[in-house]
């Protein structure tokens, strides 16, 4: 049971969004810009960063829903599982591995990011906007994950539901509820 009286039947973050629409709007807009709107990193790559950080934060709802979105973009969940288990050996580009290194450091705390991490990402072709957005995706999921777990939201273990949510995110982005 959630810690506060969240409207029933809304899994994960949608419980908080239904409880407080005023804060839901900017939170949805930020996710839409970072993960859905066009960018030089593909939406699938950005969803992998979100999934990896959510997995490091041990947030079941976020890693499963964003993992489903990543799988829908990338045509299957094999890469998603690899990235969560050990991204260095996953079938992703070296540039994305360098960005995932930065994301992992941001997850532990922003000061962990070094000049060498950034230089390495640049050597592999990362632009400043891509580095910026990686830092902000990782930071934002340190917010979303804490929000979802800190409210004690309902997080059903229902893979069909998450697959449908992933499909919704791929088709419609983050501005509208999926259910």
């Amino acid at each position: 049971m959630a810690h506060i009286a969240l409207p029933e039947g809304n899994p994960g973050i949608s419980g908080g969004f239904a409880f407080r629409p005023e804060t839901a709007t900017p939170m949805r807009e930020l996710a839409d810009i970072l993960l859905y709107q066009p960018g030089s990193l593909s939406p699938g790559e950005r969803e992998l960063i979100a999934t990896y950080v959510s997995s490091q934060n041990d947030c079941y709802f976020c890693q499963t829903s964003h993992g489903a979105a990543a799988a829908a973009y990338l045509g299957g969940d094999a890469v998603v599982k690899q990235v969560k288990a050990d991204f260095q050996t996953a079938s992703v580009t070296p540039k994305l591995k360098a960005l995932l290194t930065i994301a992992g450091k941001v997850q532990r705390g922003g000061k962990n990011v070094t000049g060498e991490d950034v230089a390495h990402a640049r050597n592999l072709g990362a632009t400043d906007v891509e580095i910026h957005d990686t830092v902000l995706i990782a930071a934002a999921f340190c917010m979303y994950n804490r929000y979802v777990d800190g409210l004690g939201t309902w997080q059903p273990h229902d893979q069909t539901m998450y697959a449908e949510m992933g499909k919704h995110l791929v088709e419609h982005g983050y501005l509208r509820p999926s259910r």
Binding site: T23, G109, G150
Partner: protein
């Protein structure tokens, strides 16, 4: 942080300052500490006491209970227990106040990482933060953001 609310802006800024201090973000704890002080009649000592040991600070029992929740969210959302919530409720906290405490703490885990993760410039100049703190307390975040954001983004 500024909309009409049962927690005062000064109390909400204290939560933001405390979480930023736990995350060791110099810029965020200093600017939000300055905004908090500006809301609290310039009481910079109170801000320092909250950062050092809020249980001994001259704040309400309700705010202390909410700061306990904020600190647990800072370490990770799963740390918040039903007992923490019942304790805050017994001190008069509403569900909205508990929700916003969780979200302020979570949001500052984002803002702090963003500021430090980009390696931003964080001047060591207390007077600068004090002045900006008064300005934000007086005018709010949206108005102040218009001084440095592109017109289109600020106009929203």
């Amino acid at each position: 942080m500024r909309g009409p609310h049962t927690l005062s802006p000064g109390e909400r800024e204290l939560i933001a300052t405390y979480v930023s201090a736990l995350n060791e973000c110099y810029y965020c704890q200093t600017i939000h500490g300055a905004i908090a002080a500006a809301h609290l009649n310039g009481d910079e000592d109170l801000v320092k006491r909250v950062k050092a040991d809020f249980q001994q600070a001259d704040i309400s029992g309700k705010l202390k209970a909410l700061l306990v929740i904020a600190a647990k969210v800072q370490k990770g959302g799963k740390n918040v227990t039903g007992e923490d919530i019942s304790h805050a409720r017994s001190k008069g906290a509403t569900d909205l106040e508990i929700h916003d405490t969780v979200l302020i703490a979570a949001a500052f885990c984002m803002f702090n990482r963003y500021v430090d993760g980009l390696g931003t410039t964080q001047p060591r100049d207390e007077a600068l933060y004090r002045e900006r703190g008064k300005q934000v307390a007086r005018e709010g975040y949206i108005a102040v953001s218009k001084t440095y954001m592109p017109a289109k983004a600020a106009a929203r």
